[in-house]
Symmetry: C2
Subunit: 205 residues, 2 copies
């Protein structure tokens, strides 16, 4: 089986916001599609270990910001490469709360979908939320980015320090550590499913 | 609520093949994402009225052909604009059967995912299939198309005969009929959720 075939699926890239007990948070996800038309339902998949996933389970709602072509790597890094358990991800990013209290961005997004969860399916590493749309807004005419476009255009290329010895590689998405100097180019994180390009080197101290 | 905001979600375009009792069939879908990483799960949504949907419910398996940049409108029309109840969609299209007996294309696709359904969620108009990957192959290095790219580049623009009186509009995807000479540009098919650009005029006889 060639797991890289899965990388041919096209996705958008989204900032998924939720809230619980007075706190707000958001994470990056690339998995959202319209799953039914009458009534309208969307499906979103989120890693169970994410704080945002826990908040959606508690609040039963979320706001999905659709990132557009103005999106910078800073935005992806802020919402995707750190945990809301340690930082307030919205400290430097303008946002608005939707009617349910979920945060969505005001910059770099072309649309926002507010949704209420109607069913949750536990898939082990991830939860699949099926939700009804409670509000939907178009915010700009900029084109929504694709995940493949993000990988090619927005994401900086890896710079490796060749003077230091590499002893392992860390997945920037979930923290998984691969032990060894050379990470195979077709390596896929066993924890979160992200490719080798999402790993950073760990140097000998 | 601005339902057009839903069009900002990015999708691939796929030929979804299945089989039952010696017959094969396939339809076009744009809804597939990887929903979990360990074990790997994909989610696909299909209209309940489609023959392919019925076949997947019976056989419990499918093959998803990922259309790439070589895809022509003929392929979309063949698999998406007619029903396998009336025609053999594979009559003029080369295909291979996967290990479960599901057909996938050999041309115009960059990858194929074979999958076995582990859970089905009924969403009214559609069924959401959650499936495990049983086989995955990369078949070319061509780029997978996006649904927005298909709408802009591959799909021919509508040609309206201005000499005849238009009395209605028919959704080419599901057959829904809108009565009236002018279809609003932001109209969305109440049956299958497709936009005004998927409607064709009905002329007075």
């Amino acid at each position: 089986m060639d797991q890289k075939a899965l990388f041919s699926l096209q996705y958008g890239v989204f900032v998924l916001g939720s809230h619980f007990e007075g706190r707000i948070n958001a994470c990056i996800t690339n998995t959202c599609f319209q799953a039914a038309s009458d009534p309208v339902r969307i499906a979103v998949s989120v890693m169970n270990s994410n704080l945002t996933c826990e908040m959606i389970k508690q609040s039963g709602s979320f706001a999905l910001s659709v990132l557009d072509s103005r999106c910078t790597f800073e935005t992806i890094k802020n919402f995707g490469y750190q945990s809301g358990r340690n930082v307030n991800k919205f400290a430097d990013f303008p946002y608005v709360l939707d009617e349910s209290g979920n945060p969505y961005l005001t910059n770099e997004i072309c649309a926002v979908l507010s949704a209420k969860v109607v069913k949750t399916v536990d898939l082990g590493t991830h939860s699949l939320f099926i939700a009804e749309i409670t509000d939907a807004k178009t915010l700009s005419q900029s084109s929504p980015i694709t995940y493949i476009g993000y990988q090619k255009v927005i994401k900086p290329k890896l710079v490796v320090n060749t003077e230091k010895k590499i002893i392992g590689w860390r997945c920037k998405i979930c923290g998984y550590v691969y032990e060894g100097a050379e990470l195979p180019a077709d390596f896929i994180c066993p924890l979160c499913g992200h490719p080798a390009s999402d790993f950073e080197p760990i140097y000998e101290q």
